[in-house]
Amino acid sequence: VLVLTRRPGQSIIVGDGVELFVVRIEGDRVVLGIDAPREVRVVRSELLRDLEDENRASSEARAHIRALISGS
C-alpha cells in the first residue's frame, strides 16, 4: 500500500486523468474532491460491498418472495 501525506488543497494523480484533492479536514473526517473522466466510476467502497451483499441476498430471497406473492 502506498501511503502519502497531503494537506488541504494538495492532490494526487491516479492513472490517466484522475485527480484526488484534499478539500478540507473536519475533525476525524477528510473531505475529498475527485476529478475524473465521466466513464470512471467513483463510489465509496462500502457502497460497492453493500450492493454485492444485496445482490447475493436478493438471489437467495427469490423463492421466499415468490411464496409471499403467492400468499398475498
Binding site: R41, V42, V43, R44, L47, L48, D50, L51, E52, D53, E54, N55, R56, A57, S58, S59, A61, R62, H64, I65, R66, L68, I69, S72
Partner: protein
C-alpha cells in the same frame, strides 16, 4: 409490469452484476398475477432475482436519472427485490438499479445519492398505482 415498461426477454450484462461479474445473461420471465418479473441467470439457473420497475417503487426515478445523464433516454430501469428479517419485509435495491436498453444490453448502476437506498422498503407486494417506498 404495472408501469409502462417493456423489458426484452433476454438481458445481456457485459460487466455482470456488482460482485457477480460472471453473471452475463439473464432470461426475463413474467410472473402471473404480479407486477414483477423474474430474472434467471442462464448459466446458473438456481441464481435469479425478482425485479420491479424502478418507477413502481420510486415514481419518477427513471426521469430523474435521465435528467442527470445517468440513464440514457431509451433505457428502462428495474430494481432487484430482497427480503429481510422476521417478520419479513421486502425491499428494493434503489442504489443499484439495472438499466436496460431495448436491445437487451443492460448494466447495473451504482448510485451514490443517499436518496436511493440499498433497501427501500416495499409496503405492498404487488404495487399498482401507489407503490410503497
Amino acid at each position: 409490469m404495472s408501469s409502462d415498461v417493456t423489458v426484452p426477454s433476454v438481458l445481456w450484462l457485459a460487466e455482470g452484476l456488482v460482485g457477480l461479474p460472471d453473471c452475463h445473461t439473464l432470461d426475463v420471465q413474467p410472473i402471473a398475477g404480479a407486477s414483477f418479473v423474474e430474472l434467471i441467470n442462464r448459466d446458473e439457473p438456481l441464481m435469479g432475482w425478482l425485479a420491479a420497475s424502478a418507477d413502481d417503487v420510486r415514481p419518477g426515478m427513471t426521469e430523474a436519472l435521465r435528467a442527470t445523464g445517468r440513464v440514457e433516454p431509451d433505457e428502462v430501469l428495474l430494481v432487484l427485490l430482497a427480503s429481510h428479517g422476521e417478520p419479513t419485509i421486502v425491499t428494493a435495491n434503489l442504489a443499484g438499479p439495472v438499466a436496460i436498453r431495448p436491445d437487451g444490453n443492460a448494466r447495473q448502476l451504482v448510485l451514490e445519492d443517499p436518496a436511493y437506498e440499498v433497501r427501500a422498503r416495499l409496503t405492498r407486494l404487488a404495487p399498482t398505482t401507489d407503490p410503497g417506498r
